[in-house]
């Protein structure tokens, strides 16, 4: 894994440049480039099958980079999967402490830390002695989150970790995650296909489009996540859903109402060939609404493609 290297002087950021990846002859990722500095939460958003998980696994070093560069300047990286993936034969406490054990910490110390973080994430003391099958799905997710956070990571990679949870649990885990993130200036790169989740949590949204997977644009949200209320999240999620580039990426037909759609022909399913309103229009429109589309130089190629 090209992850930890405490002595180097690289900036504390995750940097991905010109990343291409293929499974056999299937081109999965093409020309991916972005930068994730410490303290920023970035969401990778896109339809199913656009290579989000592949990109995250490349960033984590779980896959070998074929072409391009992934450079991770963070000291410690932790990964949380879509399913809890707990070891069924170990108690919740031992599961949380797994990464610490791998790092060679003594038993008493790793249990002390695991207990601390487990309790903070809302696990009861007796839950910690239970085996995973005795815990509900929500409790298992807490254990999985605790297992990642106990490593005190500088970079946390999340692969749709909350997608199977109910709304209340999601909200609670969001809050726990954001508290932890803010306290430690942790960088977070998360996959989601829930736009609301992305708007709720992230400082930047990287929109991906499929075949081959590429980043088509980047939205920046300039209100700190802690200050966003539900109304703000709903409004900006709706905003995002009306954006032509977003609709295109998800294969939705362009909006037929309002000035935006005036010039657009009814294109039906052929989303890729549908003319979309260009970045400048989207940008000026969004800046008033604090959703800023920034044509990052690294993204120029893909942006110009989606801008027509």
């Amino acid at each position: 894994m090209s992850v930890s290297c405490p002595t180097d002087t690289r900036p504390r950021e995750l940097r991905v440049d010109g990343l291409n990846h293929a499974f056999g002859r299937d081109e999965v990722l093409a020309g991916i480039g972005f930068r994730l500095p410490a303290g920023e939460v970035a969401a990778l958003v896109g339809p199913s099958g656009c290579g989000k998980t592949t990109l995250l696994h490349l960033a984590a070093g779980l896959l070998t980079v074929q072409e391009g560069q992934v450079s991770n300047g963070f000291d410690t990286t932790a990964f949380m999967f879509q399913q809890p993936r707990l070891l069924p034969w170990q108690t919740a406490l031992d599961n949380i402490a797994l990464g610490l054990k791998a790092a060679g910490l003594a038993r008493a110390e790793r249990h002390r830390r695991a207990r601390g973080i487990g309790l903070r994430l809302g696990l009861a003391p007796r839950d910690l002695d239970k085996f995973p099958h005795q815990l509900s799905g929500g409790m298992q997710s807490r254990v999985a989150l605790a297992r990642a956070l106990v490593l005190a990571p500088d970079l946390l990679l999340l692969d749709e970790p909350f997608s199977a949870l109910d709304v209340g649990l999601k909200e609670e885990l969001y809050r726990l995650l954001l508290d932890h993130q803010a306290a430690r200036a942790m960088g977070v790169l998360m996959i989601t296909h829930d736009l609301m989740e992305a708007v709720r949590l992230s400082d930047a949204i990287l929109l991906m489009a499929p075949a081959p997977g590429r980043i088509v644009c980047r939205f920046e949200l300039d209100v700190p996540a802690a200050q966003r209320d539900d109304a703000w999240v709903y409004r900006h999620t709706a905003e995002l859903l009306q954006n032509a580039v977003v609709r295109d990426a998800f294969g939705m037909p362009p909006l037929m109402t309002g000035a935006v759609a005036a010039g657009a022909p009814a294109a039906g399913e052929q989303a890729a060939e549908t003319p979309v309103t260009g970045m400048p229009a989207g940008g000026s429109h969004a800046s008033a609404l604090r959703l800023v589309a920034t044509p990052d130089p690294a993204l120029a190629r893909s942006v110009s493609r989606c801008g027509g």
Binding site: L62, R85, Q90, H133
Partner: protein, 263 residues
């Protein structure tokens, strides 16, 4: 040591939970007695005379050498199949080709009746210990082999990916991820194979050796001594039950506590 303590601590509750089992065994004894009352002691002696004969055999010291000989053969064959079956099964499970190829072979082994192996073994090993030991080995091997094979084949890719993401060192990969999973398949196979060994060894002795419980059964049959026959059967079954329910089952419960359903 931890296992021993857990075993001792769990024993009273475990025994208490055995009342149901004891009640159903007593029902079996009642049926046995009923049959002996209807058909007479020559066809089926009543339980009291069978256990009385057994007690006499134990007190006179005649039972122990036979039981020891039988146990020695059963355990030798069992130990061989345990080592070979576990090791080869694990190896075969590591390779897709090997597991595909070994499956039909093992099915053939499983499908061949032990009595057929016994005839072959008698030709090869004569009246020596080799005959029962070999027969036990051949009967128990496929059971353990299949358990080990499935244990390795079903290793979870998701857990492996997780272990990589948390950068588990090779040793932990083995002790924390692979081993517990494989043991959860191996242990039940070991227990099943033990039962098989114990049954097959008596059969082999009956036909092939001059001592051991099987030989004693053959002798009692030729004397038309049904009480002694039942006594020997009770001894063999009792020993198997004792080993399985007093030793193996509690260990299994402790080792596989994580599988328990409910709370």
């Amino acid at each position: 040591m931890r296992l021993l303590r857990a075993w001792a601590a769990g024993l009273p509750a475990y025994l208490w939970s055995g009342w149901g089992a004891i009640a159903s065994l007593l029902l079996l004894f009642a049926a046995w007695e009923a049959v002996s009352l209807i058909y007479g002691p020559l066809v089926m002696p009543d339980p009291r005379s069978a256990f009385g004969t057994l007690l006499g055999l134990i007190e006179s010291g005649a039972a122990w050498p036979e039981l020891a000989a039988t146990a020695r053969r059963a355990m030798s064959g069992y130990a061989l199949s345990l080592v070979a079956g576990s090791f080869l099964g694990l190896l075969a499970g590591l390779s897709m080709t090997a597991s595909m190829m070994s499956r039909p072979l093992v099915t053939v082994l499983m499908g061949t009746p032990p009595i057929a192996w016994l005839v072959l073994a008698m030709l090869w090993f004569g009246a020596s210990d080799g005959t029962p030991v070999f027969t036990v080995f051949v009967a128990a091997f496929p059971v353990i082999f299949i358990g080990a094979l499935q244990g390795t084949r079903t290793l979870d890719n998701q857990l492996r990916g997780m272990a990589e993401a948390f950068r588990l060192p090779r040793r932990m990969m083995f002790t924390d991820v692979y081993l517990p999973h494989v043991v959860s398949y191996l242990f039940p196979a070991w227990i099943a194979a033990l039962g098989t060994s114990w049954k097959v060894v008596v059969m082999a002795e009956l036909l092939a050796t001059q001592d051991g419980v099987g030989a004693a059964l053959a002798a009692s049959r030729s004397h038309l001594d049904t009480a002694a026959t039942m006594a020997w059967i009770a001894a063999v079954v009792g020993l198997l039950l004792a080993v399985e329910y007093l030793v193996l089952e509690p260990i299994k419960r402790e080792v596989e506590r994580w599988r328990e359903q409910g709370r």
